[in-house]
Amino acid sequence: MAERLRLGTVPGRGMPPAFEELFRREYPRVVAIAHRVVADSDEAEDVAQDVFVSFYRRHPADASYAAPWLCAAAAHTALNVLRSRERRGKRDAVEALRRDAQAPDPAQAAETAETRSEVRAALARLPERSAALLALRYGGLSYEEIAAALGLRLSSIGTLLRRAEDAFRKEIAK
């Protein structure tokens, strides 16, 4: 019993209802953000699992900052995954993306994966904040939600986003 109390959860009883409610509400969005970065469904779901475990360990489910925290962590964790994939080399990166490259024939699938790999390599080279801004914006967050997630002023989001987009286009063109 002492062990159970120390662990804070009783095996077999599951997680606190508030956490499960948070998970149901935010999971699709967390996966969507991660997917914009890693472009692979399985990896995006793995990122989301890690993000929720991280939150579960350290934060109460009813924390007012839960949603912005999860979104920011999704972006940064996915970017870490992307960078480590890039470090492993181009072949690995293309192979990882081929799984999700839906195309009628293998040659087209390979080409799609190659293009997406170049886009992701460019994203991985961006400064952390710029990449996170793009992941959150194109993962479906509003300016207000991005400001909350990244701890930035709402009034600066538009400018920062435009700069991030310009930097991204330059990286793609390299």
């Binding site: 120390r6 662990l7 804070g8 959860t9 095996p11 077999g12 599951g14 997680m15 606190p16 499960e20 998970f23 149901r24 999971y27 996966v31 969507a32 997917h35 469904s41 995006a44 779901e45 989301a48 699992q49 890690d50 929720f52 475990v53 991280s54 579960y56 360990r57 350290r58 109460p60 489910a61 924390a63 007012s64 900052y65 925290w69 920011a72 962590a73 972006a75 940064h76 964790t77 870490n80 999700d100 839906q102 997406r116 886009v119 952390e128 904040r129 996170a132 194109y138 939600e145 400001a147 909350a148 990244l150 701890g151 930035l152 002023r153 709402l154 987009e165 991204f168 286009r169 793609i172």
Partner: protein, 334 residues
């Protein structure tokens, strides 16, 4: 659809939230992951707080305690140890939960307890610590007045015990390799500090640091922490660093990856490992004050810190600031 959206688009992931929740439940159960405690009146701060505290403490003997008790591994390289350089050692959640605690190998006895205390001003901090305390010439906007704390020099003795190791392993139903006879009963003498930590609170805390959501997740956290201290020195009464490393890295619960990283440290007797929890933070080498330092960024992107060693003193600067702001503060210390 904008060109960027077009580039970042792809087949939308098909999400089965209930299946994903079941997967998470199974993981939480299998890894016995505990949720944060309930009933606390103040909001739990971001994970950034964990390593911010760690970084602030890095220049103090608290770092030694953290390394010894949290990673359970740093002791492998602490024998006759006088660090002159720093190295980032990535650690994972599994490493933290799987590695045995330092207490499993023997008994730590404080001969001079770590007792930090507040001092009213810079002059007192310098006098009590016996160090020239560096101050930032450049502070980011919104940073309030400084508060100073001093950690006096601290010493401790650690005595290895084969009996204690066997008992700790048995309690976890594990079988450790036998402790070599020359390690059983041998002692490590650990000295840390003194250190000075300067805290800067948020000068004009708005209704919420995150702006849009109201309540700040950083309630109660300093905006900026600047720390400096004498690095820990460890002496042994006979056991060599190689003997300890060989024995401790063979313990159950220590991942081969982590063991390889520790073994890869070229000069373990003069290298201070900075544990970087890879699921919470990233790190990279940077140049600070003309020397090599380690920059650490929290995985939420909301906080960052840098640690370096110069002229026999370890320095750390951390805060809920951007990388540029933290490095600007670090480089402006004088």
């Amino acid at each position: 659809m904008s060109d960027i959206e077009d580039m970042l688009s792809g087949p939308e992931p098909k999400v089965d939230t209930e299946r994903a929740l079941a997967r998470l439940r199974a993981r939480v159960e299998a890894e016995r992951i505990a949720p944060v405690g309930h009933g606390t009146s103040t909001p739990r701060p971001f994970v950034v707080n964990i390593w911010l505290r760690g970084l602030a403490a890095a220049a103090t003997v608290v770092l030694v305690a953290t390394l010894l008790t949290v990673s359970g591994l740093a002791e492998t390289i602490l024998t006759i140890f006088e660090p002159r350089q720093l190295v980032a050692v990535p650690i994972t959640t599994t490493d933290l939960s799987g590695a045995p605690s330092f207490e499993a190998y023997g008994t730590l006895t404080w001969t001079e307890q770590p007792k930090p205390y507040d001092v009213p001003d810079l002059r007192t901090a310098a006098r009590d610590s016996g160090m020239t305390v560096l101050i930032p010439g450049n502070l980011p906007a919104g940073v309030g007045a400084p508060r100073y704390g001093v950690m006096p020099k601290t010493t401790a003795t650690f005595t290895f015990s084969a009996d204690k190791t066997r008992q700790a392993a048995a309690a976890q139903k594990r079988t450790p390799p036998p402790m070599p006879a020359n390690i059983d009963g041998s002692k490590l003498f650990i000295t840390g500090g003194p250190a000075v930590v300067t805290f800067y609170d948020d000068g004009a805390r708005p209704t919420g640091a995150t702006g849009a959501t109201g309540a700040s997740p950083f309630t109660g956290m300093p905006k900026l922490i600047v720390a400096q201290g004498r690095p820990p020195v460890v002496q042994s009464d006979g056991v060599t660093v190689e003997q300890l490393q060989s024995y401790l890295l063979a313990q159950p619960g220590i991942s081969p990856q982590l063991a390889a990283q520790i073994r890869a440290i070229k000069d373990p007797s003069s290298t201070l490992p900075i544990p970087i929890p890879v699921d919470m933070a990233t790190s990279k080498k940077v140049t600070v004050q003309g020397v090599e330092g380690i920059f650490v960024g929290d995985s939420t992107g909301l906080g960052s810190g840098v640690i370096w060693q110069k002229d026999g003193i370890v320095y750390g600067v951390a805060g809920t600031l951007t990388e540029q702001q933290v490095l600007a503060v670090a480089n402006s210390l004088h």
